[in-house]
C-alpha cells in the first residue's frame, strides 16, 4: 500500500471539512466499540480483566523474547502436518511468493478474508496486475473494495462510510433497486459473494495467531467468510506478520478471551477458525494445498529496541476506538494501513521516520489508548521515543527546536526567567480585550488560528502579575 502519511495534515484537514465523514465519526465515537468494550470489562470484572491483560502481556512478551525458537517450532509442526511455511523479508518478497503460488496452481480468482498484512504489502494490486482477480469477502472490506478505498479501521474497515453511501455503492455495483435496509444490504452482499466463494480457486486469509506447538494458524472473525475462504478453494494461503507466533494452545486460550472483548466487546467472536495443514487423506473438506507466508516487513528490526513493545500488538483496534484524535480525523488521515495510536508507532517504524513525521506528533499523549491496550503497550511512551528519534535525526522544524532551546535556557536561569515572564505577561495583557481574552497576537496564531470566526480559540490573558512577584510582595508583607 502506498504510504501517504507525510500528508497527514492535509488529509486531516480534508477529513475535518467533510461533514458526512464527521457525522460517521461522531456516530462511531458516541455509540461505538469503546462502549461495548467497557460493558464487556464490567461483565468480566474489572480486576479480573486487569489480570487477564497482564497475562496477555506476558504471553506476548514471552513470544517475542524467544521468537526464533517459536518460529522454528511452528515451521516444523506446520510442515509435519502438510502445510508449507514460507518467509518473506519484504513486502515485495511477499507479493512474489503469492504470485508464484498463483502461477504454479493456475489461479484465476482469489477470495480473501480480511488481512491487514495483505494491505500492508499491496497484495490486491499485485494480484490484479498478474491477472488474478482479488475479491474481498469481509463485508467491510467488500464495501471499500467496491469504493476503491483503503480501510480506515483495522477491524471495521468501512467504519467511515454511512448506510447511505453503502446503499449508493451497492446500487451501482449490484444492479438492483436501491435499498437502505441493512439486512437487505447484507443479503445482497452475501448473494454476490456466494458465487465468488464457489468460483475462487485461491483463498487468502490473514492470521491472528500462529501456534508453535501445533503449527496452526488462527483467525478470529464474525461473518463466517473466513471459514469459506480457508476451506472451499483448492489452495489456501495464510499471510501474516512473523511476530504473530505464540507458543501454545493454552496461550491462545488466554488471548482469545481478551481479543474479542477488547475489540468489539464480545465475550467470544462468532468464529475462531483454526487451520492446521492441508486436507488430509479421508478428510471431507479443506484445501489441497495450505501455505503460510510469514512476513517480516521491518518487524524483526524492532526486536531489542525501545520499540519492541509494539510487536506485542494483537490488532484489536481498541487504541483507535478510544483515541480522541482518531475520532476527529478518521483513519484515512494516517495515510497507511494502521491508523490511530498503533499506526502512529507502527507506520514510522515500518516505513521510516522521515515518511511519517506527523504521526508520533499528532497525539495529545492522553493515554486513553494505553489503558485499554490488551497487551499493555505503552503507546504514548513509544510515541515519545519516536519524537526523540526525530530530534536526534534533525527532523523537527527549526522554529520548534529554537523555541524549546530558548524556553529551557530561560527556565534554567530563574532571574532572567522572572523578567522574561513579566514581559510575556505584559505583552499578553496588552493584546487582551476588556473581558481578558486575546483574539490574536504575534506568535500565538498556533493557538488562536487566523482569528477568523469559528476557528481556533481565544487565549485567556494572564491575571496581571506573576505568582512569583505576588508571592514576593506578600512575603514582604505587602
Amino acid at each position: 500500500m502506498k504510504v501517504q502519511s507525510i500528508h497527514f495534515r492535509a488529509r486531516a484537514a480534508d477529513a475535518m471539512a467533510n461533514p458526512v465523514l464527521q457525522q460517521n465519526l461522531g456516530r462511531f465515537a458516541s455509540g461505538g466499540l469503546g462502549k461495548l468494550r467497557a460493558d464487556a470489562v464490567a461483565d468480566f470484572g474489572p480486576q479480573a480483566f486487569e489480570e487477564l491483560r497482564e497475562a496477555a502481556r506476558a504471553i506476548r512478551e514471552r513470544s517475542l523474547t524467544h521468537m526464533d525458537v517459536w518460529i522454528a517450532q511452528f515451521e516444523r509442526e506446520a510442515s509435519r502436518r502438510g502445510a508449507t511455511v514460507l518467509f518473506a523479508e519484504t513486502a515485495e518478497d511477499a507479493r512474489d511468493l503469492v504470485l508464484e503460488i498463483c502461477a504454479k496452481h493456475g489461479i484465476k480468482k482469489a477470495v480473501k478474508s480480511k488481512s491487514m498484512l495483505s494491505e500492508e504489502v499491496g497484495l490486491n494490486e499485485a494480484l490484479s496486475a498478474a491477472g488474478v482477480q482479488p475479491v474481498e469477502t469481509d463485508l467491510g472490506e467488500y464495501i471499500i473494495q467496491l469504493a476503491s478505498e483503503a480501510p480506515s479501521h483495522i477491524i471495521a474497515p468501512a467504519v467511515h462510510k454511512s448506510r447511505d453511501e453503502v446503499s449508493d455503492l451497492f446500487e451501482q455495483h449490484h444492479g438492483k433497486p436501491r435499498t437502505s435496509d441493512i439486512p437487505q444490504l447484507t443479503r445482497e452482499a452475501r448473494e454476490a459473494l456466494r458465487a465468488h466463494f464457489l468460483s475462487g480457486d485461491l483463498g487468502i486469509s490473514g492470521g491472528n495467531f500462529l501456534v508453535a506447538e501445533t503449527g496452526s494458524g488462527i483467525i478470529v472473525t464474525n461473518e463466517g467468510n473466513g471459514r469459506m475462504v480457508t476451506t472451499l478453494p483448492r489452495v489456501h494461503v495464510c499471510i501474516t506478520g512473523i511476530e504473530k507466533v505464540i507458543p501454545t494452545l493454552e496461550d491462545l486460550s488466554t488471548l482469545l478471551r481478551i481479543l474479542p472483548r477488547s475489540a468489539t466487546g464480545q465475550a467470544i467472536s462468532n468464529y475462531a477458525s483454526f487451520f492446521t495443514g492441508a486436507r488430509g487423506e479421508g478428510d471431507a473438506e479443506g484445501p489441497e494445498h495450505m501455505v503460510f507466508i510469514l512476513v517480516d516487513g521491518g518487524r524483526t528490526n524492532l526486536i531489542g529496541t525501545e520499540l519492541q513493545d509494539m510487536l506485542r500488538c494483537i490488532r484489536c483496534g481498541a487504541c483507535m476506538n478510544h483515541c480522541p484524535v482518531y475520532r476527529t480525523v478518521g483513519g484515512h488521515s494516517y495515510g497507511w494501513v494502521y491508523p490511530g495510536p498503533m499506526g502512529a508507532v507502527l507506520t514510522p517504524a515500518y516505513v521510516g521516520l522521515e515518511n511519517a513525521l506527523d504521526l508520533p506528533q499528532a497525539a495529545t499523549l492522553c493515554g486513553a489508548c494505553s489503558v485499554v491496550c490488551p497487551v499493555k503497550i505503552p503507546l504514548p511512551d513509544l510515541m515519545r521515543t519516536l519524537r526523540e528519534q526525530q530530534v536526534e535525526r534533525g527532523l523537527r522544524p527549526r522554529a520548534e527546536r529554537l523555541g524549546l532551546k530558548l524556553w529551557s535556557w530561560f527556565a534554567q536561569r530563574p532571574r532572567l526567567y522572572a523578567i522574561a515572564t513579566r514581559l510575556a505577561v505584559w505583552a499578553m495583557r496588552f493584546h487582551a480585550d476588556r473581558s481578558g481574552m486575546i483574539y490574536w497576537m504575534p506568535f500565538a496564531s498556533g493557538w488562536t488560528g487566523s482569528g477568523k470566526a469559528g476557528e481556533g480559540r481565544f487565549l485567556p490573558a494572564p491575571a496581571g502579575r506573576t505568582f512569583r512577584d505576588l508571592y514576593a510582595r506578600r512575603k514582604r508583607g505587602g
Binding site: A12, V325, T364, R384, P414, W447, G456, R457, P460, F467
Partner: protein
C-alpha cells in the same frame, strides 16, 4: 507537615490565583508550605517534544530545589505526573541520579490527591453556590489515578451540585505543544469537550490542570459561551473568580 509547593510555570504566568488557592488549602490542612524561589518549569515541554537534554536539565534543577521538602505538591496533574511517572523514565539511563529521582517522585502529589490521601482533609475552607461539571484532565487521571479525590472534596461543599458530563474522561485536545502544532485538530477536540460541558447544564466546568483550562475557556469564549472555567483549587479554597464568598485567610 512541611510541603514544597510546585506552583507550575503556567500558574505562575497565567493565573497566580490558583497558586494562592493551593497555598491556602495546604495551610488550612495544617501544612507548613514552602515555595522554593527559583522554581520555573518541570521540563515537560522538552520531554514531550523529544528533547531529552532540555527535560533533564530542568528536572535536575527542580530536584535540587525540592529535595529537602518532605512532600512536593502541585496544583496540576500533568506536572505532578511528570515528576512521579516520567522523571524515573527520564533518568533511567543514569543510575547515580535514579535513586534521588525515585525518592522525590514518590513523595510528589497532585493537590487533591495530597489533600485526600496524605493530609486526610475532610473539609475545605471554601464555599460555593451553584452547579459544576468536572473534567478529568488526562495526566492526573491516567498517570496518577486522580478521579475520586477532587469529587470527594467537592462533595463536602454544601452549596455545590455536581452534574457529570458525558465523556468527562475524554481529552480536551490540549496536549501541550499539540495545541499549537495541530491547532485545527486541537480546536475540534476542544469543541467536542465544550459540547459536553454545555450539555451538562452546569454553570461552571471545574478541573485540575491550567493547560486544559486555557484550552477549554478559550474555545468556550470563542463560541460565545460564558460557562465559567475554574480550577479545583480555586473552588475548594473559595477563591474562584467572581465568587462572592471571601477568602478564609
Amino acid at each position: 507537615m512541611r510541603v514544597g509547593l510546585l506552583v507550575t510555570c503556567l500558574v505562575d504566568m497565567m493565573r497566580p490565583s490558583i497558586g494562592f488557592a493551593a497555598l491556602n488549602l495546604l495551610e488550612s490542612a495544617g501544612c507548613t508550605v514552602v515555595v522554593p524561589e527559583g522554581q520555573t518549569c518541570c521540563g515537560q515541554p522538552g520531554w514531550n517534544s523529544g528533547d531529552r537534554a532540555a527535560a533533564k536539565a530542568l528536572a535536575e534543577k527542580l530536584i535540587a530545589e525540592f529535595e529537602d521538602c518532605p512532600w512536593v505538591v502541585a496544583p496540576s496533574g500533568s506536572c505532578a505526573g511528570m515528576i512521579r511517572t516520567h522523571y524515573p523514565q527520564l533518568f533511567s539511563d543514569s543510575p547515580a541520579m535514579l535513586a534521588r529521582v525515585r525518592a522525590l517522585s514518590e513523595r510528589t502529589y497532585e493537590l487533591t490527591d495530597f489533600l485526600v490521601n496524605v493530609a486526610r482533609v475532610r473539609e475545605v475552607p471554601g464555599t460555593y453556590a451553584g452547579s459544576i461539571t468536572y473534567h478529568d484532565a488526562c495526566s492526573g487521571l491516567r498517570e496518577l489515578g486522580v478521579k475520586a479525590q477532587p469529587r470527594q472534596l467537592l462533595a463536602t461543599m454544601a452549596g455545590l451540585t455536581l452534574k457529570e458530563m458525558t465523556g468527562c474522561e475524554t481529552c480536551c485536545g490540549f496536549g501541550g505543544t499539540f495545541a499549537v502544532k495541530y491547532s485545527d485538530i486541537s480546536t475540534q477536540m476542544a469543541d467536542a469537550k465544550c459540547d459536553n460541558i454545555v450539555s451538562s447544564g452546569a454553570d461552571a466546568v471545574v478541573l485540575g490542570d491550567l493547560g486544559c483550562m486555557l484550552n477549554i475557556e478559550g474555545r468556550l469564549r470563542k463560541r460565545g459561551d460564558a460557562t465559567r472555567v475554574l480550577h479545583v483549587a480555586e473552588v475548594l479554597a473559595g477563591d474562584a473568580p467572581g465568587n462572592k464568598v471571601k477568602r478564609s485567610t
